[in-house]
């Protein structure tokens, strides 16, 4: 399988006055195409900092990061923006949809920043992504007319729309109830099955069961990195859960 991410001794220090916070210390690992990785750890262990680094939002203070074989550390701001636009799909805990904006318009957004897409191509791709996440019947619903689970699906569609090399999710189920969380997990598992690379940050250890690999952070260090050969099916768990009342 193709190597998508290679981290070599990545460190990230935040200097705050006299103190220096070592959010990441000598983190090294590689992630290959088609992996579904969870990054776990307690609050403050450096998960978000790692994800921001992987997502080219943050630059490490030391070490090398190769995304699709390209060194990110030496890149300028604009090049990193282009990289985010074309190689990365973000899913956030709080969805971050644009207010008063329809699902299609929200999903189109990454393509707006890519001049290769015409208006009709944008619409077509956005519609396709929404159908893929199961919102084919909600194309023109506005963000404030949707439930949390639906909003997160729109956000996932937005992350998929540019055919990224990887999807980065930070606590993507953190705001959702158990049942909806499993629905989203089912969706991620399906995307994984379709061959997509997913990196899922969570502090919920249970989620590791549904992924192919689990990286555990503590105080900015990788303390364990294990493959999961016995991936549980989120769909089965979902079927066993009591149905919502609505």
């Amino acid at each position: 399988m193709k190597e998508i991410i290679r981290l070599e001794n990545i460190s990230r220090d935040f200097v705050m006055g006299e103190e220096t916070v070592h959010a990441l210390r000598n983190v090294s690992f590689t992630i290959h195409e088609g992996e579904f990785v969870t990054i776990m750890g307690t609050s403050g262990s450096g998960k978000s900092t790692l994800l921001n680094t992987l997502g080219c939002l943050d630059t490490p203070t030391g070490g090398e990061y190769y995304l699709d074989g390209v060194s990110v550390r030496t890149m300028g701001k604009n090049d990193r923006a282009t990289l985010r636009n074309q190689k990365i799909g973000f899913v956030f805990q709080s969805y971050n949809l644009l207010a008063k904006t329809t699902a299609v318009e929200n999903v189109e957004l990454p393509l707006m920043y890519n001049s290769a897409y015409s208006a009709s191509a944008r619409k077509q791709k956005a519609t396709k992504a929404l159908i893929e996440v199961g919102l084919g019947d909600r194309l023109n619903h506005k963000s404030n007319q949707m439930s949390g689970g639906q909003m997160q699906r729109v956000a996932i569609a937005r992350a998929l729309v540019n055919d990224p090399a990887m999807i980065l999710a930070d606590e993507a189920t953190g705001n959702l109830d158990t049942r909806t969380s499993y629905e989203i997990l089912v969706l991620f598992q399906r995307l994984h099955a379709e061959g997509r690379t997913i990196i899922f940050v969570t502090h919920n250890p249970e989620i590791a069961n549904y992924c192919s690999r689990n990286i555990l952070l503590r105080d900015g260090r990788v303390v364990s990195d294990t493959m999961n050969n016995n991936i549980k099916s989120a769909a089965e768990v979902l079927a066993a859960l009591p149905k919502n009342d609505d």
Binding site: A81, T82, N85, Y113
Partner: protein, 410 residues
């Protein structure tokens, strides 16, 4: 990101907050509307003053006593009585007999006061002139006749009245010619009525006047021997400069002025008055325009204020956009275009409202307010500039946000 997309995003953001967008626009609307109205009124009144001056006869030359500033008393305000009495009968006669470039010349001695006929009275101005007055001012006697040279030399108590004076004094429709009116207790016999000329473009009634032999006004009304002024017209407009030179030469000789002495009289041609008037009006227009321009700046500050609020409010959105690939310059352009759209839309509405206001003001005052294309062009460039200038700092602030912090912002 291309422009169409940026405009689409800006439109979307504006339509999400219509009321706020409109209120922000209001500053620009008021600013642009007042600039357009003020400039149109300025231009309009300039035009009407110009046309009323040229109605007076474009080859009119006015000769007045008193010289330039040196002749004024200390403080430069009051002129000595003597310097106001430099024009004499002899000067008039010299001009009449010697000039080659003057077609007509008349002395001018005026007096305002009550005219009484029976129980009726009206206040008007009596102009003491010679018959040349009619040529110089393009007037004609409709009914009766102009006074003669003979009546001038005898200082006859005769007069010609304008139609407005006639209407005020002769309310029963009797024929004014032959009647006697009193002015300053002196009886004047009416020998003619001037052909009506109506109002000039400044709204002045050109028929509210009385003409009498200048000798009569000098001796019997004002008891003076000098002339208050003289009016003349050149044989042709193109000879105005020669005529002025000639008058100057004759008057200087008559007044026995040495080469080092400055003129003790002033000659103004319509041309000069027009250009003086023009520059005064331009100054006024500029003044009105800049006062209005200040309100445009205030409107611009309104945009800046709202854009700052908007950037702060949408910090999370900016973070999101950056995380999905927006570059700093995309964010900058987005907010800049939003600011420009507010100011240009405001500008368009402002121009329309300004045009309506200028039209209404013109109707009210009685002249046509002229909206010149350049004022509209100016308004638009100022609006675009305002949008860019006042939108720049908030947009720059947005573009420089750190994406990680922006997206965490609550």
């Amino acid at each position: 990101m291309n422009l169409t997309n940026l405009i689409r995003i800006a439109l979307k953001a504006l339509s999400n907050n219509k009321m706020r967008g409109f209120l922000t626009m209001l500053g620009i609307i008021i600013g642009v509307a007042s600039v357009i109205t003020m400039l149109a009124i300025g231009e309009g009144s300039k035009g009407s003053i110009q046309s009323s001056i040229s109605e007076m006869g474009s080859n009119l030359i006015m000769i007045q006593p008193g010289g330039d500033d040196e002749r004024r008393g200390p403080g430069g305000v009051s002129r000595s009585a003597a310097s106001m009495e430099t024009l004499k009968m002899a000067d008039y006669e010299s001009l009449l007999n010697e000039s080659k470039y003057l077609a007509a010349v008349t002395p001018s001695v005026n007096s305002s006061g009550q005219l009484i006929y029976g129980a009726n009275n009206t206040s008007s101005t009596v102009y003491g002139v010679s018959p040349d007055y009619l040529t110089i001012n393009s007037r004609a006697v409709d009914d009766g006749m102009m006074f003669s040279e003979q009546e001038i030399s005898s200082a006859a108590k005769v007069c010609i009245i304008g139609t407005t004076v006639a209407e005020k004094l002769f309310t029963n429709g009797e024929d004014p010619v032959g009647k006697v009116v009193r002015f300053n207790k002196i009886p004047f016999q009416i020998i003619g009525v001037l052909k009506s000329k109506g109002y000039n473009s400044m709204g002045m009634d050109q028929d509210d006047l009385v003409l009498a032999p200048f000798t009569t006004i000098q001796k019997r009304v004002l008891a003076i021997t000098h002339l208050q002024g003289m009016n003349a017209s050149a044989i042709d407009e193109s000879y105005t400069q020669q005529a002025i030179a000639e008058i100057t030469e004759i008057l200087r000789r008559n007044h026995k002025l040495k080469a080092s002495d400055s003129d003790d009289f002033e000659i103004m041609s319509m041309d000069e008055i027009l250009s003086t008037m023009d520059s005064v009006m331009s100054m006024l227009t500029l003044l009105l325009g800049s006062v209005a321009g200040i309100s445009l700046i205030v409107g611009g500050i309104g945009i800046m204020n709202i854009m700052y609020v908007s950037v702060t409010e949408r910090t999370k959105e900016i973070g999101l956009r950056m995380s999905i690939g927006a570059k700093g310059r995309d964010i900058l352009a987005q907010f800049l275009i939003e600011a420009i759209m507010i100011s240009i839309t405001g500008g368009i509405i402002g121009v329309i409202i300004g045009a309506i206001l200028a039209y209404l003001a013109g109707m009210l005052v009685g002249f046509s307010a002229t909206i010149q294309p350049w004022t509209v062009g100016l308004a638009f460039s100022v609006c675009t500039f305002t949008g860019v200038f006042f939108g720049w700092y908030p947009a720059k602030k947005a573009a420089q946000l750190d994406p990680i912090e922006a997206i965490r912002y609550e």
